[in-house]
């Protein structure tokens, strides 16, 4: 049983995904992090990975859907070329901001 049971999204994991992406991590590295943290295997990864990517990077389901086919075959270059541009487009909405100075 994975730690995704119930479908809850963990805020600290969202923040970790964003920080890694900000640091240049590719899509497979982000998926591997999710699988490790949520104790997922290839058979039960699809829904959690789609939900975390949509939440972390403000992607539409349509933009995130290529993860569905990729998870089974894992062509590293191909998934990056599909998802990274979408993540970059929405970056202003998910990028961590500096705390306001008072």
């Amino acid at each position: 049983m994975s730690k995704f049971e119930g479908g809850e999204v963990r805020v600290e994991l969202i923040q970790e995904l964003r920080a890694l992406a900000e640091g240049g991590a590719d899509v497979p590295a982000l998926v591997e992090l999710l699988q490790r943290r949520l104790e997922l295997n290839d058979a039960n990864s699809l829904l959690p990975v789609l939900i975390y990517f949509r939440t972390a990077f403000d992607l539409s389901l349509r933009e995130a859907l290529p993860l569905r086919e990729w998870l089974a075959g894992r062509d590293r270059g191909e998934i990056d070329s599909l998802l990274i541009p979408a993540m970059q487009r929405s970056k202003s909405r998910w990028q961590p901001r500096e705390a306001l100075r008072t």
Partner: protein, 133 residues
């Protein structure tokens, strides 16, 4: 925009759907072999939940990387390899047959890559006859 999500216990799968501002539904369904609710039922639950918001259903079908299965695209390739037309093959897919039961019977390909028998990408819009999103 409207979202629908349903997760089954014991990692047995679930459904995610998103209806955009034009009423176009994109969805993802996953039902494990031992799932207590089959994919078709999950689709129907989602359609009932969205109701009249859905003006069209968009299929986003891609070749499975490394030869992994892609239910709808594999069906299209199987049929077109045997000589069927693209539209006839689309009408034999899992998504089309389910959506058609809700009246979405007009299929319009909006993005196609590949050739008969080896398509790698198909985006298809399924609409009710006489309606446009």
């Amino acid at each position: 925009m409207a979202d629908f999500r349903l997760f089954l216990p014991d990692d047995a799968g679930g459904v995610m759907g998103e209806v955009d501002e034009r009423g176009v539904l994109t969805f993802f369904i996953c039902a494990a072999a031992g799932s207590p609710i089959r994919g078709t039922e999950l689709f129907y639950l989602m359609m009932r939940a969205f109701g009249d918001r859905v003006r069209a259903v968009q299929g986003v079908w891609r070749r499975g990387y490394g030869g992994s299965p892609s239910v709808n695209l594999d069906r299209v390739n199987e049929r077109t390899a045997a000589g069927a037309s693209l539209m006839s093959a689309v009408r034999a897919t899992w998504t089309y047959t389910r959506a058609a039961r809700w009246g979405f019977t007009r299929a319009t390909p909006i993005g196609v890559e590949g050739t008969p028998g080896s398509y790698t990408k198909i985006d298809v819009l399924l609409e009710k006859v006489g309606e446009a999103p």
